[in-house]
């Protein structure tokens, strides 16, 4: 399986070769996308440098028990005098690594299954879309909890794999619908007529046109993975000796931080999660608007114009992003 994996996903990492420069720039020009990327970059820096930036050892206890935020402890201290800021800084890496690893694995799975099923059609398609529909309706979180709690030592890699295993179906469904609509386009038929091999058609004719869909699926899965992972840590299923934002919340909850009014113990971790999640969602909005121009709010220009029927300046044909109802069902 690993061999096929590398084969199929290689182009996904490369930016769309066919996209003209102007279009790509427009994607980056959007304020939403740029804000999202900036916040994400900020957290990426923390993930790399967090352990060095942390002013204290996150495990070290001190005599400052349950202190409110101060100059010495920006985010206050826990009931054993541990520094909350250091815990969050050190925990950033785990959050991002698991999130992106799970997102990557799930994207690989969804591309493999979605594109194959959309391109092949027939019985293989029936079977594969059945599989992804099944995974789509089975609630993910309880399944993740059960698998994770059966395993003795829960490493980051294992958590990421379990999350990926339960979250690939959504992307796969969208990719299948998209591949279905691409498969019969003229240029694909032309490629087939000139004798290109099936693999070449999939990799070089179909995949580049799926880049935006794959990217938005990837970002969406990362959001889901981060939330699931933090949830697992918060419930106490994941390894609680390993710092991440969920672990901070786990200790806060189990030591009655709420009843003692120690808001600084759980507010920063939650805000970090929300900020990171918002950043990723904004990036996804950017991708969505890039694919489907009708979703763009009237940024810039005359804001006074009230959008009404007939004002929409974009042609209705050829929006490849959102498959219409008929295609996706």
């Amino acid at each position: 399986m690993s061999v096929i994996t590398t084969d199929v996903t290689a182009p996904a990492d490369v930016p769309a070769p066919a996209a003209p420069g102007r279009a790509r720039l427009r994607f980056l020009r959007g304020g939403k996308t740029r804000t999202g990327l900036l916040i994400l970059a900020f957290f990426a820096v923390l993930a790399v440098a967090g352990p060095w930036l942390a002013p204290y050892d996150p495990d070290a206890m001190s005599d400052d028990l349950l202190q409110a935020p101060s100059a010495a402890h920006w985010f206050g201290t826990t009931h054993t005098g541990q520094d909350v800021l250091s815990q969050i800084l050190v925990g950033t890496r785990g959050v991002l690594v698991v999130g992106f690893l799970a997102g990557f694995l799930a994207t690989v799975l969804s591309v493999l299954i979605g594109v194959t099923s959309g391109f092949l059609g027939g019985a293989a398609d029936e079977a594969l879309s059945m599989l992804s529909n099944i995974f789509l309706v089975i609630p993910g979180l309880p399944l993740i909890i059960i698998i994770a709690s059966f395993v003795e030592d829960t490493t980051d890699l294992l958590i990421a794999a379990v999350i990926a295993l339960t979250s690939w179906a959504w992307g796969s469904r969208i990719l299948r619908a998209q591949t279905l609509s691409l498969r019969r386009r003229d240029y694909v038929e032309a490629a087939r007529a000139t004798g290109e091999s099936t693999w070449r058609i999939i990799l070089f004719e179909i995949m580049p046109n799926l880049t935006a869909v794959i990217a938005s699926g990837f970002v969406g899965t990362v959001i889901f993975a981060i939330l699931s992972e933090i949830t697992l840590a918060f419930i106490g299923v994941a390894d609680i000796s390993h710092w991440n934002w969920g672990t901070v919340l786990f200790w806060a909850q189990s030591n009655q931080a709420l009843a003692q009014g120690a808001w600084w113990w759980f507010v920063p971790a939650g805000l970090c999660i929300a900020l990171l999640g918002t950043a990723l969602t904004l990036i996804n909005f950017g991708i969505d608007e890039f694919v489907n121009p009708r979703l763009r709010s009237s940024a810039g220009g005359s804001r006074k114009v009230r959008m009404r029927v007939g004002f929409t300046p974009v042609a209705r044909t050829g929006t490849p992003g959102k498959p219409s109802k008929e295609q996706s069902e």
């Binding site: 059960i146 949830t231 918060f234 106490g236 909005f285 007939g310």
Partner: protein, 326 residues
């Protein structure tokens, strides 16, 4: 009719798949955590309880996998999910039966509220694209990025600890005996406000965004323009022509997002110590109570499937195309 039958067949297969996953998980995992649990309770388990635990968790080494599988099914069909260790020696089925109504009520009411409210706001903000309602989008984005349980923690910190308006845990006043009378129901409603508001707040963003995007797409369709050209009132065009067509994908999205909603509700229950199955799942995880965990997973999955089937039927009623094509 064929459409409904098709969906029914699909959910049957899915239910079978979920049960089979449930069968396989303990057998694929290294070590025998259940065996350890059983040896701890050795003297207190009677023979039938041992037999059902062995069948459910595949501890009977002498049997082939196929025999284990048929055994497993026969126990399930008897409604025998094994014994809970957290609430020893109550059977898992009974434990879940006590908790399920709480979860169903919480999920049902909050989902209905957030669906109606979110769709309504989505219709408006999609129709009046570019108005002040667009400012709502970043806010909803932010809220939807917040984990359900953290929003619950904040709600407790503000409205139960700082300003003690609402109780911070439990599903009803402990001095009351659960019964169908006014004191108990009002107490249950009172205790349900904070968890309910938390879930509605987290869930509503998805409805608003989905509905807004569909409204934006639909409002540039020809039939909307025709309706407007005929001089129909704005309200009539918005609800009768645009929203009516835009809502269909939101309903099929409803079915798919149910799994997320249920997962979120489980977490909120954990935070509020609400007496539903989410809280029991938390206790089961803490005590490594595998029979209860697996029972909870099974019941949650089957309920989600049933709800999905209902949503599909509603879809079939609303969308004449499914009836005609079938």
């Amino acid at each position: 009719m064929t459409y409904v039958l098709q969906r029914l067949a699909f959910y049957t297969v899915t239910a079978w798949a979920a049960i089979t996953i449930n069968f396989m998980i303990p057998r694929l995992m290294p070590g025998d955590p259940v065996e350890a649990l059983m040896s701890r309770y050795q003297g207190q388990l009677d023979t039938s309880a041992i037999a059902s635990l062995k069948a459910l968790f595949g501890l009977d080494e002498n049997k082939s996998v196929w025999e284990q599988y048929t055994d497993y099914w026969s126990h399930l069909l008897d409604g025998d999910l094994g014994l809970s260790f957290t609430f020893f020696p109550t059977p898992v089925g009974e434990v879940i039966a006590q908790a399920l109504p709480w979860t169903l009520a919480l999920v049902g009411i909050t989902t209905l509220i957030s669906f109606l409210l979110g769709t309504g706001i989505g219709v408006y903000s999609g129709w009046r694209r570019g108005s002040w309602l667009d400012a709502l989008l970043p806010v909803t984005t932010f809220i939807s990025a917040v984990p359900y349980f953290w929003l619950g923690l904040i709600a407790i910190a503000l409205f139960a600890v700082k300003w003690p308006i609402f109780p911070f845990e439990g599903g009803y006043d402990n001095s009351l005996v659960p019964a169908f009378d006014w004191p108990f129901i009002s107490s249950a409603l009172y205790h349900g406000v904070l968890p309910g508001v938390t879930i509605v707040l987290s869930a509503i963003a998805g409805w608003i965004l989905g509905m807004r995007n569909m409204m934006v797409t639909v409002s540039s369709e020809d039939y909307v323009m025709v309706a407007q050209a005929k001089g129909l009132s704005e309200r009539r065009v918005m609800f009768g022509y645009a929203a009516r067509n835009a809502i269909l994908p939101n309903i099929s999205g409803f079915a798919l997002s149910l799994g997320f909603i249920v997962s979120g509700t489980l977490l909120v229950e954990m935070v509020f110590n609400y007496p539903g199955i989410g809280f029991q799942l938390l206790q089961a995880v803490g005590a490594k109570d595998y029979p209860l965990m697996q029972g909870v997973f099974l019941i949650i999955t089957l309920s989600v499937l049933a709800a999905n089937l209902l949503a599909d039927m509603a879809y079939a009623l609303l969308d004449p195309r499914t009836r005609k094509e079938a």
